[in-house]
């Protein structure tokens, strides 16, 4: 019964591929698995069915089987009915004729090993190429297999003991995870330091696992070591970097303050302690930002800004407003704050130095004034003396003509000295400028309005060209008003000396590169080099007895008090431009009301 089932069904039911070929290599019989895999075969040659070829393969195993009548095992690559290539292990068995002398047919049996082969290859690649050291140990802790990475780092050490290879040690490590895996069949992990073949240290994390199913005796353990030396090196670098940054911040002349993302103060260097008069202990770890950042930066922080540079600001500390230069950053990742940092430069010394410079300039101006004064007064005195001389001559010699001339001279010079003294008192009185926030354009409008009428009567047009949006400036409005009046008055006079038909005075304002500029331009007679050189030194006047020569000197003085300067462009016959230049960062502080302020005096 069983015999007959085997005879009739085995061929069909076996899970192997089976086919019978005749000596012409035609498939004469094939089982279901064969048909399922390769499709229709009736009347076709084996190479046609299995390889879609029209000729027999070279070194055909079936041909050899027909030749020598013996069985053989071979491997083959065939293409199935869907066109997919597969790898097969084949067994070819000769089938003799009735009396057993001639092989008339061959039985071909094949097993598909495509998937096995792929897995093996995957394993091989994984084992060799994984960026870890991988070793397989036997129960004696000998390395029976090692991957490429391990061999590269520790050398070819197959058959050697694990601790010899990794540590250069003759005894097993104290807390050996491989031993534990052998003992309990579990997976274990530990950190360790090994010795590379080049002598350097290798930091790695080691994982061991048994190479057996649960319950089976463990013959081998696999060790996988992940090298973290680079990470360790980076960590060390980071520590060194932090130490360097900390030392730099500590030694900085500028105050350095920083917070973390929760706005707790984390950095507060000694310079900041000095400047603000508080110790790091008092603020580090707290959120007292108002103590360490200027108000404007806190506003930037609240409004979602990212940076803030304040060339000149103040911060309240130790009961006073300390002038500082400040730069702050808010490091953000979209809406989230990652941290803040601020740099505070103490401007007290700079301010003091600037003040001293201004004082020195002011003193120089006073010196020039005094020198010039001597010249101006001497001329008038000589005039008076001349008058007296002529009067005396007239009286002594009874010469009425001399008396008359002398009297006229006395009269004239008396007038001159009166005017001179009055103007000089005005000049001297302006020593303390009253500084307040002033609209530059308003000043120009006022001056232009003041002279418009008088100028028109003399045939001179006054034009204003005012730049829009000029911010208010800390100016002594009276002083600047006087300067502009002097310049406009001079410009009108210069126009009167010119032959031109259209006489024009232009008054301009502009803001450029942090400087506020006033300009008075005329198309009058202009000045040659000698006059240009002299206009600001002493009591120089080209107006004969009509001018005292104080106007431009006063203009220069007022500008110097504002930390500014005066420029002249002029050519004879073309006209002149006087430019008042006021660098914003040198402008004085507004005068404190109801306080005794002495120029040049220390306010501390």
């Amino acid at each position: 019964m069983i015999e007959s089932w085997i005879q009739t069904h085995l061929f069909e039911e076996i899970p192997e591929i089976m086919a019978v070929l005749d000596r012409e290599y035609s498939v004469v019989k094939a089982n279901r698995r064969f048909t399922d895999t390769f499709g229709e075969w009736h009347g076709r040659r084996c190479y046609d069915v299995l390889l879609r070829k029209s000729t027999r393969c070279r070194g055909c195993s079936v041909a050899q089987c027909f030749a020598d009548g013996t069985s053989r095992t071979a491997s083959a690559n065939w293409t199935d009915k869907t066109g997919r290539h597969g790898h097969y292990v084949t067994r070819i068995v000769p089938i003799p004729d009735g009396n057993g002398s001639v092989t008339t047919h061959a039985l071909v049996m094949a097993t598909d090993i495509t998937r096995c082969e792929r897995l093996e290859r995957e394993h091989q690649i994984l084992f060799e190429r994984v960026p870890c050291y991988v070793a397989v140990l036997d129960r004696e802790f000998r390395i029976v297999r090692a991957n490429e990475s391990l061999r590269r780092t520790f050398g070819r050490k197959k058959g050697k003991l694990c601790h010899e290879v990794f540590k250069g040690s003759s005894v097993r490590c104290a807390d050996c995870p491989a031993l534990r895996s052998f003992e309990d069949g579990g997976v274990h992990t530990a950190g360790s330091v090994g010795l590379r073949k080049n002598g350097g240290s290798a930091f790695y994390v080691l994982t061991t696992a048994p190479l057996a199913r649960r319950g089976e005796p463990i013959e081998h353990v696999i060790e996988i070591m992940h090298d973290v030396s680079d990470l360790k090196e980076l960590q060390n670098d980071l520590v060194r970097e932090r130490q360097f940054v900390a030392a730099t911040i500590d030694q900085s002349f500028d105050g350095v303050v920083a917070t973390n993302k929760r706005l707790r103060i984390t950095v507060f260097n000694p310079a900041a302690e000095n400047l603000l008069g508080i110790t790091a202990d008092q603020v580090v770890g707290t959120k007292q930002l108002e103590l360490v950042y200027p108000e404007l930066f806190l506003a930037v922080l609240r409004q979602g800004g990212t940076s803030c540079v304040l060339p000149e600001t103040t911060i309240r500390a130790q009961g006073e407003d300390i002038p500082i230069r400040f730069a702050g950053v808010v490091v953000r990742d979209r809406d989230e704050i990652l941290g803040t940092a601020g740099f505070l430069q103490d401007l007290r010394n700079v301010k003091r130095f600037e003040r001293e410079m201004l004082d020195a300039e002011r003193l120089a101006a006073v010196g020039q004034t005094v020198a010039g004064l001597a010249h101006g007064v001497k001329n008038i005195l000589t005039g008076l003396e001349g008058g007296l001389y002529l009067v005396r001559w007239g009286l002594e010699d009874d010469r009425r003509d001399k008396l008359q001339r002398g009297w006229e001279m006395l009269d004239r010079n008396f007038d001159r000295i009166t005017t001179f003294v009055r103007e000089f008192l005005n000049f001297a009185k302006g020593q303390v400028p009253e500084v307040e926030a002033t609209e530059p354009n308003d000043l120009v409008e006022e001056v232009a309005a003041l002279f418009e009428e008088a100028a028109r009567e003399k045939g001179v047009t006054i034009v204003t060209e005012l730049e829009e949006g000029i911010p208010v400036a800390n100016l002594d409005p009276e002083g600047i008003h006087k300067c502009l009046s002097n310049l406009v008055s001079n410009a009108i006079d210069a126009c009167l000396l010119s032959e031109k038909g259209e006489r024009r005075v232009v008054v301009r304002t502009r803001e450029r590169n942090g400087r506020l500029e006033f300009e008075v331009e005329d198309n009058g007679c202009g000045m040659d080099y000698e006059i240009k050189r002299k206009v600001f030194t002493s009591f120089f006047t080209t107006k004969g007895t009509k001018g005292t020569g104080l106007g431009l000197l006063e203009t220069k003085k007022v500008l110097q008090e504002h930390g500014g300067s005066v420029e002249i462009e002029s050519s004879p016959g073309v006209g002149s431009t006087f430019r008042l230049i006021l660098p914003r960062d040198r402008l004085p502080e507004p005068t404190a009301k109801d306080e005794d302020t002495t120029p040049g005096g220390e306010s501390q």
């Binding site: 001597a374 005039g383 001349g386 008058g387 001279m409």
Partner: protein, 142 residues
Amino acid sequence: MTEQAGRAASNGLSVIVVDDEPDVAAYLAAVLERHGHTAITASTAAEGFDLAKKTRPDVVCVDIVMPEETGATLLRRIRADHDIGGTAVVFITALKREMIPVTPCSNGEPSVEPNAFIEKPPNADRFVEAVERAVREGRNAS
């Protein structure tokens, strides 16, 4: 000065006073006149040079600091002139002598010195003395 132009009689000197301050010029001219000299005035260096060429005076008294041409320029022009190069020149100035950069010339010409300096305001007698001495010494030197 309208009284007497040109050469004075007998021992009187003929003088040109140049000063941009008309009263100063008038005063100095009056002083000279009262001491028996003849003086005419000019208010610019250019005018002074023209007058000097025209009247050939014994001495030119000139203010140093003047707009346009200075006294020093006038001195150089006189010294460089063929006709009046030997004329005595006296500087009158409100500046201290040390403050006056008469020499050297910026353009490399040989430096020139005036015959005398008189400070402003001058004492009348000393002024006349200085002018007379300058002329005397100038004549002796040549």
